[in-house]
Amino acid sequence: MAVMSYLEAIRETLRQEMRHDQRIIIYGEDVGVRGGVFRVTEGLQKEFGEDRVIDSPLAEAAIIGTAIGAAVNGLRPVPEIQFADFIFPAFNQIVQEAARIRYRSNGEFGVPLVIRAPFGGGVHGALYHSQSVEAFFAHVPGLKVVIPSTPYDAKGLLAAAIQDEDPVLYFEHKAAYRSIKGEVPEERYIIPIGKADLKRPGKDLSIITYGLMVSYAQKAAETLEKEGISVEILDLRSIRPLDVEMILETAKRTGKVLIVHEDNLTGGIGGEVSALIAEHALFDLDAPIMRLAGPDVPAMPYSPPLEHAFMVTSDKITEAARKLAKF
């Protein structure tokens, strides 16, 4: 089994799925000749040609809007939004069109579409190259939102997204691209959308998180283990639909839940997860549900101390989990 970076896993999955299904096309800004600003699509245009790996005009609404049309007419588009921060010009197309076409046509039309977008901060990207935007989309019935945390998951979730009949947003953390490596099987496989993954069993408290924060939480768990605190980590993998069953299971098992995400606190996924637990697992709770999230400031600043202050780090997770364990 090959060891790949998170980024390589995405690229190789795109390659593998494109070889397997002629209907898959990729397009977006700089994805062709340049292979994407992060090199995710490097070499794909050379292999699959300009008809299937398309450098599109710099217009996000058009990228997503045309992808919707192309999907209806028989293709499997996998457009890339260069940075998740740039997705908002396409917000209407995603939320009011892609998400609603099946519903508004009474099941006649569907939009099999995967929107890939690098997101997240801690890479000096400042306000417009650092955002976590998942909560906006997780709010919308008709969309699916997945965020892988490992190269293995990156492959399985991307393949599942591409094979899905509905629009899926696939968010890739920029800081994970090259820093997270892991074994990835060569054969095709999928990880079902909507299923969470218990990344680490534990008994004193549960950290529920996703994406890059999973590896930060794992680091925190290792630190706390030395202090005799046993931390369970549930990787949501899918932000919509949420794996309610596993969320409740872990909450009931440990009775203490810390929800971690880099996205802003208010209106973030943490609120939804927290509400589910409060609704369905109240009598198993031994502590208030805790959230550790990006602060409610408009976006991540550029200068290192400010960026650091914004970012959710392994140390901050350790501290919050310790506090919860001792409660």
């Binding site: 009598f283 550790l292 290192p304 101390p305 960026e307």
Partner: protein, 440 residues
Amino acid sequence: MAEVVLMPQLGESVTEGTIGQWLKKVGDPVEKYESLLEVTTDKVNAEVPAPIGGTISKILAEEGQTVAVGTPICEIAADGAGGGETAALAAEAPAAPAPSPSAAPAAEPQAPQPATAPAADLRGRYSPAVRRLAEENHINPDSVAGTGAQGRVTRDDILLAASRPQKQAQTAPAPAPVAVQAPAAAAAPAPAVGTAAAAPAPAAAVIDPDDQVVPLSSIRKVIADRMMRSKVTVPHAWLMMEVDVTPLVSLRQSLKDDFQAREGISLTYMPFMLRAVVQALKAVPAMNAQWNGDSIVLKKHVNIGMATATDRGLVVPVIKDADQKNIVGLAKASQDLVKRARTSRLTMDDLTGGTFTVDNTGAIGTVLTYPIINAPEVGIVTMEAIVKRPVVIQDMVAIRSMMNVCISFDHRVVDGAEAGKFVQVIKQTLEGIGPSTSIY
């Protein structure tokens, strides 16, 4: 002074770079901002400029080598510098400089505050899980010692309390501690039941690889359960008196052969003790009683149990109506029960109906024990080993056969004065035995 040049971070998400080509070699002069080398990453290829002017003093990474961002790649001796100290300089700003001390605290208040701001004292504040588990396990969480923040009773605290065998103990509403008017002499202060129930849970056994784990036999479970229940629910008090049994020893000595020949059984001290206990129970009826929550039940019959060791564990067969028997009768009854106990032939009737218990601990050589009351009885006495000791009698030292009698008693039912009187009667009865005492 030499400046160490670090592999710069060339682009977002890049974690390492490969040395392409060195444009300078060791000894070459270099101007500030002049290109030092080419670096290849999977995002960009770039020339890395010198952070200071000077002379290349060391090259630390070879062409073709891939190194992590932040790794030293060369050193530049500053113009006019004599070397020695080095200072690390990245060609670019370091990836994530530690926030300055002043910046970090300033940023903290902006960081999300955990929703939980624990109150100063969390005793008496229970989480939903604690409430539910306490209810399910009939535990009063007020009686559980909290190990959480600010004394909070945690879910684990309740689960531990629930894992203890004495459920009834915790079920019982914690009674207000009895105002005990024990004489100062009365042994240990009576513990309040509430705190007894709150006693820490037993530590879990540590099982090492070579250890043997033996499942509990049913009799062991019953013993464990009864002992625990008694110890946790009954406020035990204890006292002891010395009894001079020199005349008893003489009497027994003089009778035992005859007795054996005539009755077919040996004459032990036990029937004398039983007889003395019967006298004491008559003198202090409160000892022949049972605690009944809001009342005390004085028992009509005097049925004395005898704690008896068997291969399978402790049993307490009962001599019914012991007050109706003389020494011989008591001897026969007790030996019959002991025999049947040791051959597992006791009936249910033999084991029930006791109103008081006698324990011949002296048989194993002890001189002082602290027996556990066979609840709901009120007391248990022991007869300790008879030992010859120097004793002062009328200001003279004499060698006497001495036996200690210990009693544990339920302080809810009787106080030290009554228990003392009870043992006193035993003492007087035994010491009152003489050569002419009839055993019939």
